[in-house]
């Protein structure tokens, strides 16, 4: 398809963006570069400033201070219709009085494009709904409306496509399917997608790069694997998946590793995965990285002894254990049911072991529960 709308091309740059509503800073001195052609996710709980950021990029909200540019073009003070940016709204915002065809043609007509019919047909085929062209939006199912909203935006070939919780209104099965479809469409059309969501699974499925936002700031940015395996704050560790965070102190050094004292037991963690300003750390290990064994039968690596099982949940592919440690903290363990060994029982004395390289350590001064008590479904 011909590239018609985009006078500006290139990376999206937000420089020192702040947005205040009265005394409340929704977005606080945000600086961010989103590379051209990437699928970028802004992930965070409700009220973290992600939607406000998106609306500022679209031009629907003015930043209190800072600069937004695409490539070398400054768009900070441009009106929404002057930006090479299109949005897929949370509730789709399809025009109820126009047919599906006219909804999709809307942007093309405003820009005076000639071959409207051809382009609309093409994009309708892309979202596999060519038979709905003459319908009105209210006659479509939620999933269909969602695809039309995407079609109405991408038909304009914007430099940036913004998606504001685009799958929030769909049921789980449809959401999974649309995640794959959106990712496919992005690859197909090669546009830059900026996706705002509170759903970590959705962000991890689709995005190349995720920025985790909290209280108007970016906590951490990176690939899904990077964020999951090497989070730098307790908020990120808890918001993306589950983590066991144990209070400890760095007591020694051993090559590439720190030796950490955890309530009298010693464990190692890579220096490169330790993100602490002091010796006080939150030693962190993901539940699926832990191996659980009967007392005298543990595997090599780091070892915790003296735990006993307080809860067992058998969920088919895996078994989830809650193990109470001698210091009264409950540690979560996910054990794959891949060896046919029946799960251990409640009350069993167990030993936990793990590869030192899979653990990480965070600054001990932070709240170990940050990001875990947030209800991500709450909007």
């Amino acid at each position: 398809m011909a590239d018609a709308s985009t006078s500006a091309k290139g990376d999206l740059k937000l420089t020192n963006i702040t947005k205040s509503f009265g005394d409340f800073k929704a977005v606080d001195d945000l600086t961010l570069t989103i590379p051209e052609g990437s699928f970028f996710a802004l992930l965070g709980p409700s009220g973290c400033g992600k939607t406000t950021t998106l609306r500022m990029i679209a031009g629907l909200e003015d930043p209190t201070s800072g600069k937004i540019s695409i490539g070398s073009t400054d768009i900070t003070n441009k009106r929404p219709y002057q930006r090479p940016v299109n949005t897929v709204f949370q509730n789709y915002a399809l025009f109820p009085h126009l047919t599906i065809f006219e909804n999709i043609a809307f942007g093309l007509r405003r820009r005076g494009i000639k071959d409207v019919k051809e382009q609309v047909d093409k994009v309708l085929n892309l979202v596999e709904l060519p038979h709905l062209a003459d319908r009105k939006p209210t006659q479509l199912s939620g999933g269909q409306q969602q695809r039309i909203a995407v079609a109405r935006a991408i038909v304009n070939r914007p430099a940036l496509l913004l998606l504001d919780e685009p799958l929030g209104a769909l049921d789980l099965k449809l959401r999974r399917q649309m995640q794959i479809e959106l990712k496919w469409i992005q690859t197909e059309v090669g546009l830059t997608f900026v996706h705002v969501t509170h759903d970590q699974e959705e962000a991890m499925t689709m995005a190349d790069t995720i920025a985790v936002m909290n209280e108007g700031r970016i906590e951490q940015m990176g690939s899904p694997a990077e964020l999951y395996d090497n989070p730098k704050t307790a908020f990120v560790a808890n918001f993306l998946g589950q983590s066991n965070l144990i209070q400890g102190t760095i007591v020694d050094s051993d090559g590439d590793y720190h030796v950490v004292d955890l309530f009298g037991q010693k464990a190692k963690v890579l220096k490169s995965r330790t993100h602490s300003k002091s010796n006080s750390v939150l030693y962190a290990i993901r539940p699926e990285k832990l191996r659980i064994d009967t007392e005298n039968n543990h595997r090599p690596g780091n070892v915790f002894t003296g735990g006993h099982i307080v809860d067992v949940s058998y969920i088919g592919v895996s078994t989830q254990y809650q193990v109470e440690m001698p210091w009264k903290q409950e540690i979560m363990v996910f054990e794959q049911n891949d060896d046919g060994i029946p799960p251990l029982d409640k009350g069993d004395e167990v030993t936990l072991s793990w590869e030192p390289a899979f653990s990480f350590a965070l600054d001990g001064a932070q709240d170990a529960t940050a990001g875990s008590e947030v209800n991500p479904e709450e909007e």
Binding site: S5, A58, G59, L60, R79, P80, Y81, V85, N86, T87, F89, N91, A93, L94, F95, P96, H97, T99, F106, G107, R110, R111, D134, R135, K136, T138, Q139, R152, A153, N156
Partner: protein, 265 residues
């Protein structure tokens, strides 16, 4: 006996409905029936069926000029009140400004005030300004009381309009003017049309305020009132019935169009 009582209890709602509608429409039916009365002087006693009244609706002195005045005044007042009221409704519904809450309350006042008071005070104002009472003072008075109704009706429609639709239009390269023309106006239009119909019917049958400010101009309601004492000609029934059926036609047509717009095809 038992089957009769069962039939009765089963059809209670229907019977109630017939009685209810009967109560509402007997006066209209009566007006319609007496428009065919072969009356002499007074149209109060049934004297036989005739089509003469319908054949010559203007057959009585002054009735058609009065109707003409009412229609002209109604259209003018509706036109002005709808434009002004719609603009006020947009201001109140879409923008935050100092004094919005007060304006919202003030807009309701003309609706809540007794018409007698409004009519009398308008008369005082016109006299003090030295204006000649007549056609234009009626128009001014009608615009005044119609505006509130237009504002309330249109504002309700604007309130139900999702602001994200306008944002979506702006996002899709429509500037402010285009957004209003393509999205906002078409979506608010049914509300504006409803407000205009309401304004016209309010203006058309207003008697009290008009009576104060009409001077020598006679509108249809004034004509009916002044002639009711001496014996109303059946032509008044003809015009009344015709207005009723016209209104019915507009409502039915509106519903059919509305349904089409909703369903799409």
């Amino acid at each position: 006996m038992k089957t009769l009582s069962r039939w009765f209890s089963r059809n209670l709602i229907r019977i109630y409905m017939v009685l209810g509608f009967g109560y509402l429409f007997v006066p209209v039916a009566y007006t319609f029936a007496f428009s065919f009365n072969d009356y002499i002087k007074s149209n109060l006693v049934w004297r036989g069926f005739t089509l003469n009244n319908w054949k010559q609706p203007c057959g009585v002195l002054d009735v058609c000029p009065a109707l003409g005045n009412s229609i002209k005044i109604g259209l003018l007042a509706t036109f002005i009140a709808t434009i002004l009221g719609t603009l006020i409704a947009f201001a109140l519904g879409r923008y935050a400004f100092r004094g919005r809450a007060v304006t919202n309350t003030l807009i309701f006042l003309p609706m809540a005030s007794p018409e007698l008071v409004l009519g009398a005070s308008l008369l005082t104002i016109f006299l003090n300004l030295g204006m000649n009472l007549g056609f234009w003072t009626i128009v001014i008075a009608h615009v005044m009381f119609c505006i509130s109704f237009v504002v309330v009706t249109v504002k309700a429609r604007i309130a139900s309009l999702d602001p994200r639709l306008e944002q979506a239009a702006m996002d899709l390269y429509a500037d402010e003017k285009e957004t209003f023309r393509r999205i906002t106006f078409p979506l608010v239009a049914p509300g504006i049309a409803g407000a205009a119909l309401l304004a016209f019917s309010l203006s058309f049958d207003d008697f009290i305020i008009t009576n104060f400010n009409s001077g020598t101009t006679i509108t249809f309601p004034l004509y009916v009132y002044t002639h009711a004492e001496r014996g109303l000609p059946a032509q008044a029934n003809v015009i009344g019935s015709a207005m009723f059926f016209l209104a019915l036609l507009i409502v039915v047509a509106g519903q059919i169009v509305g349904k089409k717009v909703k369903v799409g095809k």
